[in-house]
Structure formats: C-alpha cells, structure tokens
Amino acid sequence: MELQVEDTIQWLEKSNEKIQQNKDYLTALDQAIGDSDHGINMSRGFQEVVNQVKSKQYDTVSDVLKDTAMTLMSKVGGASGPLFGTAFLRFSMRVKGIDPISQDAFTKGMEDALAGIIQRGKAATGEKTMVDVWSPVVDYFKGTTIVQADEVAQTAKKAMEQTKEITATKGRASYFKEKSIGHIDPGAASSFYIFEALSEVIKGEG
C-alpha cells in the first residue's frame, strides 16, 4: 500500500460517508451506554473535516492529517474530539516529511496514533473503548508484510464486535457497569467505519 494526498482525502471522504450513513446507529449505540451524542458529534466533525480538506490544496499527507486533527478537536463536542483529534495529530507528526506514505510509514503513524489515544484517554485494551479496535488493527499492520485491504476491514470489524462482550470500565459507559455488556462501544463502531473506509481506499489503489 501507498498513500498519497489524494488517497488520504479519499479516506476521509469515505469515512465521512459511512459516519453520515450510520449517524443514527452510532447515536443509538451511545444511547444504550452513554450520553447519546456520538453520532451527532462524529457526523458534525467529519463533515467539517471533509469541507476543510476539500477547500484547500495540500502538498503532504501530514498536512492533511494535521488539519483533520485540528478540525476534529474543535468541532466534535464530546470525548471523541480530543481522542480522534489526538490520534490524527500524532499520526501527522510521525509521517511529517514522508511522501507518499509507504506501508512502513503508515504503520509507524498508526502506532503513534494509538499511543496518543491511550495517553489522552488513559485507557488500556479490554475496557470497551476505541482502543479495542485500534490496537488489533495496529498489530495487524505491524505483523503483516503486505497489507491486504480485506483483512484490515475484517480485523477492525471482528474487534468492534468483540467490544459487545466487554464490561465498560472507562468513560461515560463505565457508569453502566455490567449493563454495558451486549452493546457495541460507539467509539469502537466509528473507528471501524474509519478502517473500513481505509480498506476501500487500499483496495482501490491495487
């Protein structure tokens, strides 16, 4: 895989499409174990991201990701803003000066993004959060010589579905304790859409 500026913008557009299509579903997930604003927040944030990156000319992938981060931080009201924002910001910092993004550079960016989410949210794996999707996806990239588009989406999907079985111990969902079992974590679901979008972009380039 190789990511250029156009691919990155396409990744964000596809992520946005999926989030817009599933806005109500994400909100319903958040209604079950949170404060019901995840779909609204993410759809507002990603729409702004797409508006932003389509209105400007970019020379580097890093700059696209940096603008994505800043937009998410300022436009998503809930916890997803700082978390997804930090992820994209760390990613952008790690791939600064590298264009286009090779699989190796992408993997390093993903590693830093995950580290950022963990640091910002003070979360670990197994707490029913977006970390439970990001972590196996990062592991997949680290352990694979040639990334397969379908495997990216499958890894993320499986990981998202597994959050159903976990009791939430982090974030607003932790107030629901064992009642959180049986529900997919909303942040895990929106993370899945982002990786599903990525998988489609990787597929398109091959």
Partner: protein, 123 residues
Amino acid sequence: MERVGIVLISHSSKIAEGLKELISQVITDVPIETAGGTEENEIGTSIEKIMESIHRADYGKGVLLFYDIGSAKMNAEIAIEMAESIEIILSEAPLVEGSYVGAVESGMGKSLKEVYDAVEKAF
C-alpha cells in the same frame, strides 16, 4: 491584579456561568474565567474556549483549572499543551467546591502551587 487565575470548565455553559456567579458573590479580586459548553454553546467542551479563558485569567501568576466530567479533562490537557508559556495546573478537585476553595486561596495572594496544594488538601 496579581492573583492566580481560576478557569471553570464545564460541559454546560450555564454551570460554568452559575458557578462564577456563586464565587463572585464572595471573591471579587481574583480573575475567574469560564469555559462552558462547545463553540455553539451546546453540551460539551471546547479547546478554543479553554485556551481563551486561560489567557484571560493569566496575570502572570499562573492559572488553576477545574473541570467537571470526562472529555472536559482531555480538552483541558490539550489546551495546557498548547499554551506553552503560561504556568497552568489542572485540579482534580470537584468543580464547584474545588474552585470555590481555589478562589478563596488565590484571593489571599498565594502562589499557584500554594493554591493548588490548599485545594488538594481540602478534598
């Protein structure tokens, strides 16, 4: 006004404003700034609002931040990382009681560290 500034961060602009009103009834010579709600004044917090409040509350003696729940803390941490030149501490004390104690201590002309320690000791 050589006092440690206080910033009240809440998901609700009404909570932040109401709290400022409560504190201001007693403490009038301490810079107290609010960062409540999102940029559209909906429920949530805004890094930009927090940063602006930090700058307004800083008179050279630093700023102590108080927050309510969840993402307010993450946004406060990002704002702190961005406001490099100002001395800032994020208090983990409950928003209402903590900021009240903080404002009283700041009003005595104490340093940021002293105000922070006094708040910590109270909870």
